[in-house]
């Protein structure tokens, strides 16, 4: 019984030191961080738009809204329609904004995973959808903008990409776990980047000691090992691409008929 107790104790306490993808969470941005950066302006805009509008007509998942100007002298009518396709482990939610001036804006959220439930209408309309780790796959497409953000989550591999055709942005982030190692690779290209493509890799290795130590090794594939300072500077550059693309989203939305309200 003592042996069994010891074995079970070791089993439970081993979890304290087991390495997994979360070892990167605090200092190495992943899909969720970049998506949040990129969509911060659009979320803020849509929240404001919806909170300043009143619903004047409602039919299941289609809403007719009125936005009053700041001085109430002008009224803009628009309509938001949501189409949902719900299968056993997959939900596709398609949101369309239509403005009286003929402009439209459409985005599609696709989620694959167990025990999924639809995103509430108001959250979906204001771009508030979470990319929970329970999902096996998540994607967001905005066809008019050429935007395709995608994330596949497996037990030992996580692959994601961000494509924004309007500014030639292509970013791939792959994270893999094997034995006592976690590796994350960032590959990115962007029209304002000096090089055609940039590659960054961080390898996290846990030693097999009684008190496991974790080594973070940073690589620039065409250079080799680099110091963390350089790595974080380049990661900062990558983050700036998302900051800029977030601002570009808003510009494109305004050009597509969304009123300037902020």
């Amino acid at each position: 019984m003592i042996k069994l107790t010891l074995v079970l104790y070791l089993f439970f306490s081993a979890k304290i030191f087991a390495i997994d993808i979360s070892v990167l969470d605090e200092q190495y941005p992943g899909f969720h961080d970049f998506e949040a950066t990129c969509f911060s302006p659009i979320r803020m805009y849509l929240r404001t738009l919806l909170s300043r509008s009143v619903i004047v007509g409602h039919h299941t998942t289609a809403y007719n809204l009125e936005l009053k100007g700041i001085n109430s002298e002008s009224i803009i009518d628009f309509r938001v329609a949501i189409d949902r396709s719900i299968e056993r482990n997959k939900i596709v939610e398609n949101v369309n904004y239509y403005f009286g001036n003929g402009h439209a804006f459409n985005y599609i959220v696709t989620r694959i995973g167990d025990n999924l439930s639809p995103i509430p209408d108001i959250e979906l309309m204001s771009f508030q959808f979470s990319t929970s780790d329970k999902l096996k796959s998540y994607s967001l497409r905005i066809p008019e903008f050429g935007v395709d953000f995608h994330r596949d989550i497996g037990e030992f591999l996580e692959e994601s990409y961000f494509i924004f055709s309007a500014i030639n942005m292509k970013i791939f982030i792959n994270t893999s776990v094997a034995n006592n190692e976690v590796s994350r690779n960032y590959t990115f290209s962007y029209r304002k980047l000096n090089k055609s493509q940039m590659n960054l890799n961080v390898l996290v290795v846990e030693s097999a000691d009684f008190w496991p130590m974790i080594d973070y090794v940073h690589f620039l594939p065409d250079v080799g090992m680099i110091d963390p300072k350089k790595f974080y500077e380049l990661l900062g550059d990558l983050n700036n691409i998302f900051v800029k693309s977030g601002a570009e989203f808003l510009d494109i939305m305004h050009n597509n008929g969304f009123p300037k309200i902020i």
Binding site: Y28, S40, W211
Partner: protein
């Protein structure tokens, strides 16, 4: 049957946190963790930045940081590839149910910046994990399985800067705080099934700490002062703040007393000392990679927008209160220079 009973015992052990918890004190009242974090966070964020700025080399609980280029380190030219800082961790079980830990933080030119010594007693006490160690993360208050902790911060010459001794019994927990050997504060927590109380006793003390070209002095000649906070469970928890003569205080009076007797005279000078000892380490830069503060940034933008548009002001009010609670509980750490 034996197998089943041992699994049952383990199940109970693993789920021991399910049992009823103490009634929480108001978040605006700083607890042990918050008080220590007020100055220790200065040092912890330096450790995080060292890992982001310099190449690490590891061997047996010893991490050495090296620079890839020549640099001025604490006023002395240091060649590329030479160590600019190192962290050493040691732990042992000197007695059953007792864990002794020592961490040595060394800066430029092999000068020891700070040393931490910790003695923890309790059931199944475990050492820090590596990631917490290199990021300066450490729980100071007692965990469920721990009965006492002695935590000390010393300088390279073995002079004690700060010490806290925490002990607990079934319904009581006490923490004695010392600044350069002078006891300045005792906090006693008392828990019953229907109430929680914290008693603060500020002692008389005369603390001096001298270093080359800098000195700190904190003296309190007044007789000991006490004040307390009490929460009684009801349909809505009843909170009361009392002074030493058991006269009721407003929250604002209570916080002013806390600022004037504890934070201002002692905790902030200790933070100044931590800042001084950070100069033993090489310069570090902080880069925004988007990983850490993104959520906060987005929330701030959304709330700024609410203010600009004069909408959902009650949500902004609640949000600011939540931010205050997060700063007070050490969940948000302010790394801005003092002049901003």
């Amino acid at each position: 049957m034996n197998v089943l009973s041992s699994i049952y015992v383990l199940f109970i052990l693993c789920n021991s946190n399910i049992r009823a918890e103490n009634i929480p004190l108001p978040s605006s009242v700083l607890d042990i963790e918050d008080l220590v974090s007020e100055f220790r966070s200065v040092f912890a964020s330096k450790l995080v930045d060292l890992g982001k700025n310099y190449i690490s080399q590891m061997s047996d609980k010893h991490i050495v940081y090296k620079s890839s280029e020549n640099l001025m380190c604490n006023g002395i030219q240091t060649r590329a590839g030479m160590p600019v800082s190192s962290l050493k961790y040691h732990f042992s079980n000197s007695a059953p149910n007792e864990l002794v830990e020592k961490a040595i933080y060394t800066g430029c030119n092999d000068l020891v910046s700070l040393v931490e010594e910790v003695v923890t007693k309790g059931e199944s006490v475990i050492p820090l994990n590596f990631n917490d160690f290199i990021r300066g993360k450490r729980t100071i208050d007692l965990k469920e399985n721990e009965t006492s902790r002695l935590y000390r911060i010393l300088n390279g010459e073995n002079e004690e800067i700060f010490k806290i001794m925490i002990e607990k019994s079934e319904r009581l927990k006490s923490a004695n705080f010392y600044f350069v050997g002078e006891k300045f504060l005792t906090i006693t927590y008392e828990y019953t099934p229907t109430s929680s109380s914290a008693y603060f006793m500020v002692h008389s003390y005369a603390a001096k700490y001298n270093r080359k070209r800098s000195s700190w002095r904190s003296i309190n000649n007044s007789p000991p002062v006490s004040f307390s906070v009490h929460v009684t469970r009801d349909r809505i928890d009843q909170v009361s703040y009392l002074d030493g003569e058991r006269k009721q205080l407003s929250l604002s009076n209570f916080l002013n007393l806390f600022d004037n007797k504890i934070l201002g005279p002692v905790i902030y000078p200790i933070r100044g000392i931590m800042n001084y000892h950070n100069y033993y380490f090489p310069n570090t830069e902080t880069t925004n990679t988007g990983a850490a503060s993104q959520r906060l940034l987005e929330e701030l933008r959304i709330n700024q927008n609410r203010l600009i548009n004069n909408i959902e002001l009650n949500i902004v009010k609640t949000y600011i209160q939540n931010l205050i609670n997060s700063v007070e509980s050490g969940k948000i750490i302010d790394n801005r220079p003092k002049d901003q």
